[in-house]
Symmetry: C2
Subunit: 231 residues, 2 copies
């Protein structure tokens, strides 16, 4: 024996294994597009994919893991634009996000991923890491804009990109209404105006590309004793 037992699909990844994997992930995606996470079950995935139920349980232990793998499989759905100006990039990216999340299967995937993350801690960290990475990647747009002098030097690129994405997730998960082009337009305008106004500056200038510190970040301007309503 070489090593301890591995999960199915690791030692013999080609041919039939790859084919079943693709069939299953496609089935999950279609299932999400059809009835959403509500009707997603191992049973239905087995039927739609033609893969036997026991095989599903063997390779992926639950629907949660299935959704997780689909997430990483659909990683780069939104291309990063480069129009030459930051407001142009923000607008293009916002519309890209809008179009991507306008699709039923993407919408269903987002719902499913968040639902799954709420139950499975392992899925939760996977989700967090996934979006962290995309945030850093997309932050390049903002870093270019800063380099061009379009924004203050101490602007937090990841904060800007988070602000650009947030309204779409709000629309999908909370407001639960269709994602329309108007939302993309509004969001791009809003984020650009807010960034220019310095809403996303940190105060401490961090080198571009540096992952944010993991420590107890008491960042931001400390508004000690801020005179809000004391509930």
């Amino acid at each position: 024996m070489t090593t301890a037992h591995q999960a199915p699909g690791e030692t013999r990844p080609g041919g039939r294994t790859a084919r079943t994997r693709r069939a299953v992930l496609t089935a999950v995606s279609e299932e999400l597009a059809d009835g959403g996470f509500a009707t997603l079950s191992m049973e239905r995935v087995a039927q739609r994919s033609g893969v036997h139920l026991a095989t599903l349980y063997r390779r992926w232990r639950s629907v949660d893991k299935l959704v997780c793998e689909l997430l990483t499989d659909m990683s780069s759905g939104v291309p990063l634009p480069d129009t030459g100006t930051l407001p142009g990039d923000l607008r293009a990216l916002a519309h890209g996000i809008g179009r991507f999340y306008g699709a039923d299967r993407t919408r269903g995937l987002i719902e499913a991923v968040v639902a799954v993350a709420a139950r499975d801690p392992q899925a939760a960290t996977a989700l967090r890491d996934f979006f962290d990475e995309r945030l850093v990647l997309a932050g390049a747009l903002v870093r270019r804009g800063i380099a061009r002098g379009e924004l203050p030097a101490d602007t937090d690129p990841e904060a800007v990109m988070a602000a650009l994405g947030a309204p779409f997730y709000y629309r999908i998960l909370i407001a639960r209404r269709p994602v329309e082009p108007g939302l993309a337009e509004s969001t791009a305008t809003a984020v650009w105006a807010a960034a220019r106004a310095g809403a996303y500056t940190t105060g401490t200038c961090r080198p571009a590309g540096t992952p944010e510190p993991t420590g107890p970040d008491d960042d931001g301007p400390d508004d000690d004793g801020a005179p809000e309503r004391g509930d």
Copy 2:
């Protein structure tokens, strides 16, 4: 016979029934604060509350319904401020939201509610209606600001409030990091700047409460002809 059978708790709502209800909802809230939605189950709620499992299934048919009722039960967690100026109101409200969602139990509730809405269509509409209502209520701040001439007259109040809430849900559900005061400050600043810039004027973004045309509008400007699905 009077009418058809009603759900338990309807015909005799006082005394023991009310006490059971409170014990159960408290148990659910505590359970969410402790281990989150991941470890929430009928079994555990029964144990913690001291209410029998069969009773839980009789009055609430599932954990999903339990979470739904807890949501409406916690409705008024964030007070609406009135500082005299719109930026002051936005800042106060943002910090109120930040403090409310900073608590573990609230955070767990949000996670749970979204997860539940992904599975149960009935819960989904309940969730949508709930947040719609809060959005309209909170929109009063913006309407006052418009009346004071602080914002353009065609500003969409609900869109502004959605923009104020979105970053918190993003932080909780997607970024999965703690909600800090800095986020509230940043969000308030951003929304105020964006609103002044006219990002939320009607025509750019549709109000949440209005009946929307079902036809998909024309897709926004394709300033980047990149393929949708890059893989």
